[in-house]
Symmetry: none
DNA sequence: GTGGTCTAGACCACA
DNA sequence: GTGGTCTAGACCACT
């Protein structure tokens, strides 16, 4: 489970954890039934207070994305594929819209914005693939 | 000076003000030397406490984007064009990168992401232009 | 953390706090990573409103001299030694220059100015040392 | 009458005016009976609001350093030599003390502080003399 | 426990 | 008229 915490972003740590776990579940990088890192392990690795992780996990459970199995740990819950697709589409549209609005406001031509997006896409894609080959 | 405050976003009001004024300065919608709305006027219009606006303005001054002239008001500061362009480019790249990463993670093909971006661009662009024609 | 506030100087309290904390950090009396007094504690001790202290701390953070760790407290940030030395040298030169200009303008001979400076230096130095021996 | 206003120092303009005129009177650069620049002229030259200069002049009059002759203008008042010397000594001690305290706090050796003071003294002195020869 | 944000309202200083 | 400062007190979020 790869998580990156930015201590200086102003975004609460527990939210960063939720956000990233949620994304990975949506993207299928964390699949149904898979066990999440234990609170202690994750807290130790990220060097944050265990209570913070515990809070994030509790909220993921409330959200229905994770299930607690007593005495064992937390597992990725079953999510309707349709709902998953819907959420993914919503998140994508949100972020693309922000990008579009910024480009319009700063007067970057649409072709240039699209080109830049594709460039960044390819750069990130190849990096990701090389990781998954390791 | 058009500002929109979302009281339910969780983002502090003063930060929303800073963010939007900063963007408008960068985009040239607020030009060098132009006077900003007075603290009291803006506070009245947005229905927030004057101190909240004052805090936002103070931080814009610290950031070097605005200059206070005592007893007169707050004015858009002189910003090096090169620095402005640099900041704009950085902001654009940041947001486009987030979009690209999301698209990769959710396995949306690059062409589709680019097409969606252009769609949203045009939609927002035409909306903006119709405003400025009013 | 020893701070002295002069309520009658006309200098805003939050600025006096910033100024003194900044100096102590520069002088190494507050060292990297050290925790500052909590907002409430300092406010109580100095008998001022917590918001006033909070404002000072927020600006120290903007200045890069302090780091907030949410829910924990404020800590002295890591400052490059070279930058620290530079700042100290600048501050010293500024104040010495003001003194020199005044002496020239009031036609006090250079030897007398230097002698007076050394006298005052020793007086203050011995006072400081006796404090630290308590 | 040479005055320099720093619009970014945070010190009120009228105080900067008072401060500098007072110093020049103390130093004898403005001598008893000499006429001060008119409010309009000085305001025009410094590019500040005439009311600001007017306020400064009024306070100099209250302080007894200047005398208003109706219909003519403002003149440097007669000041007891003893009082003048006293004020000069006080101002000098104040500024030298600040320098000494800073040097002690930043651990600059007294000899180095004294040497630096003398250097700055000579530099400023020679600059001043060359001006007065023009 | 920590700091952050906001309000309502007062008073000051500046131009 | 402008912005700056401070207070008292409430409520929130984070650890």
């Amino acid at each position: 489970m790869l998580l990156e915490i930015d201590h200086h972003s102003g975004v609460p740590i527990y939210r960063q954890v939720i956000e990233q776990v949620r994304r990975q579940i949506m993207a299928g990088q964390l699949s149904e039934g898979q066990q999440l890192d234990s609170v202690r392990e994750l807290a130790g690795r990220l060097r944050v207070n265990p209570m913070t992780i515990s809070k994030a996990y509790a909220l993921l459970e409330v959200e229905g994305l994770a299930e607690r199995r007593r005495g064992i740990g937390l597992f990725v819950a079953r999510v309707q594929t349709s709902q998953k697709e819907q959420t993914k589409a919503r998140l994508l549209e949100e972020i693309l819209k922000k990008a579009a609005v910024t480009a319009v406001q700063f007067e970057m031509p649409e072709e240039e914005a699209a080109r830049m997006l594709v460039d960044l896409y390819r750069k990130h894609d190849s990096k990701t693939r090389s990781y998954s080959n390791e």
